[in-house]
């Protein structure tokens, strides 16, 4: 088995009076799709925000590529090769798609001693990448605010993939998406994983998780129920764990077991 690219150990995070994470350990292998599951408020977003340098953990250690790491800033994580698509989109509505696409990673060209934003290159790449994802833009300077939610989500994912990360973190990318868009995103995850990139995929939908996941970690109230490999666990078991380990017999009964 490959060395984990990220190893998070005993991560804790407190927000004032709220204990969002109470010691969670997870490792992510290159080329795997690691699903992070759990109830609302379980701490999934907080956990991956620590991974991507948005928060610094209150306690715990992060090892990246074997070496201990301390991300003070999202920039550090991005530079190290961790691309994140946050739950609440990291897109700026008033800016053009191409400016958004390269936000924080602008391609540069030299003119004399000075470096300028290479708009041509940015525009071309943006159009190409978006076309690959099945979205045709009016132009690279179309404002993101004019795109539908699904389209925006796709831009965000395309950006993260394009920027050539070693780890791609997706926080509930499919929650607002229609069936076709969801299929598209899942296919993208599949493709990315096959290129040897590690994917961390957060979802509430067991079926989506089962479709692409290699390993599954369930968080509950800031703690982990452990990690299971694909095949070691059934969809129903996963479902139960995500609901906090209680069996939802009663509800299931009245609703015909279709949740």
């Amino acid at each position: 088995m490959a060395e984990p690219i990220i190893r998070m150990e005993n991560i804790e995070k407190h927000f004032g009076k709220v204990i969002a994470l109470a010691g969670v350990s997870v490792d992510v292998l290159p080329g795997e799709c690691h699903c992070l599951l759990g109830d609302n408020g379980a701490g999934k977003s907080t956990f991956i925000k620590i991974m991507s340098g948005v928060y610094t953990p209150t306690a715990g250690e992060i090892h990246f590529d074997g070496a201990p790491m301390n991300f003070d800033d999202p920039r550090d994580a991005i530079d190290a090769g961790i691309a994140t698509v946050h739950q609440h989109l990291a897109m700026i509505p008033l800016m053009s798609v191409s400016r958004n696409f390269f936000m924080g990673n602008e391609p540069l060209k030299r003119i004399g001693p000075l470096k300028f934003f290479d708009h041509e290159k940015a525009n071309k790449i943006t159009m190409d990448e978006m076309r690959k994802m099945g979205i045709s833009l009016r132009g690279p300077d179309q404002a993101v605010g004019t795109l539908s939610g699904g389209e925006r989500q796709t831009v965000a994912i395309a950006r993260a993939v394009y920027l050539g990360a070693k780890v791609l973190i997706l926080d509930e990318p499919t929650s607002a998406l229609g069936v076709r868009q969801t299929a598209n995103v899942l296919a993208t995850i599949d493709k990315v994983r096959k290129q040897g990139i590690a994917v961390v995929f957060i979802t509430h939908n067991v079926r989506h998780a089962m479709a692409v996941g290699d390993r599954f970690t369930v968080l509950n109230r800031g703690q982990t129920f452990g990690t299971a490999r694909r095949g070691e666990i059934t969809a129903d078991e996963l479902q139960d764990m995500m609901a906090g380990g209680q069996e939802l017999v009663e509800l299931e009964g009245s609703l015909g077991g279709t949740v």
Partner: protein, 374 residues
Amino acid sequence: MSDASNVTPEVDERIKTRSRFREALIRPELGGIVGTAVVFALFLLFAFDSGMFSSQGVLNWSQVSAQFMIIAVGACLLMIAGEFDLSVGSMIGFAGMIIAIFSVTLGWPVWMSIILTFALCIAIGALNGFIVVRTGLPSFIVTLAFLFILRGFTIYLPQTIERKTIIGGISDAAEGDWLAFLFGGTLFKGLFQWLGDQDIIETFTRGAREGQPVVDGIPMLIVWAIALVIFGHILLTKTKFGNWIFASGGDAEAARNSGVPVNRVKVLMFMFTAFCATVFATCQVMEFGSAGADRGLLKEFEAIIAVVIGGALLTGGYGSVIGAALGALIFGVVQQGLFFAGVESSLFRVFLGVILLAAVILNTYIRRMITGER
């Protein structure tokens, strides 16, 4: 992704067509461009023979517009970065007063006074920015506090040190100073003398300067304005940092998550605004030779108005330096033009208010078109 091709043609079926012409129109500067055209047309019509378009008249409104431009560039970049600065006016008064105190009261060389003043004012700008980014308070409040603090010191300091609220004699101190020339000097004197000799531009008809051209060169004030506009425009549209400015103002959280050093961008923009205010103040002090406690009153509003007329969004993330420069031009031309046209001066404010309102409504309409009528 074989279904990509299926999607493409259908996307447009639900979009009514929009003419090429209308497409070309929708840019943030449009309001400014239209406004400038309208304003010039009106004054050419109603005030053509008032001297407004003589060489001296042109210089007059150019200088006023240049003044507005200098502070508008700073305010524009800061506003696009999502903040604004109400202390600009007080900063202008403060900076001028500090230069005067250093150079006249303390007798330091003018170049040193200027450099130290720049350092001090930029540091205050950084402090403004630091408080804003660290506390997360709205910049309206923080800079409002500095509006009062700086104005207070601008009155208090000369009052206690020199027992007056105006300090003169800077011209004498600045005589021959290299840095003073950079702010108060005049370029292309030779060219203008030649133009005057050729009777292409007017010359003085009597007095000590008989035969000299009425406009004897391009004041450094205008050079600074143009330089700052060009710098600001390139910074904003052509560099990586410009993208960061847009991003910081558009959605600070999203920008931060994408690796944009938002706090650094904002603090730097506060510093740049302070820099612009200090340039304004230095030019003024070097041109007029004195610093007064009343300098720069209400300039913060004038800067914001110019920027907003120029199409920027008060809430950040959208705007253009060229637009702001055009806003400043409109502002300057209208202000001086009303005098040329002989309009009762107390009505100036009424006009200003009406123009502001008309301009923002036009701009909003344009922006709605850009962002898809939301």
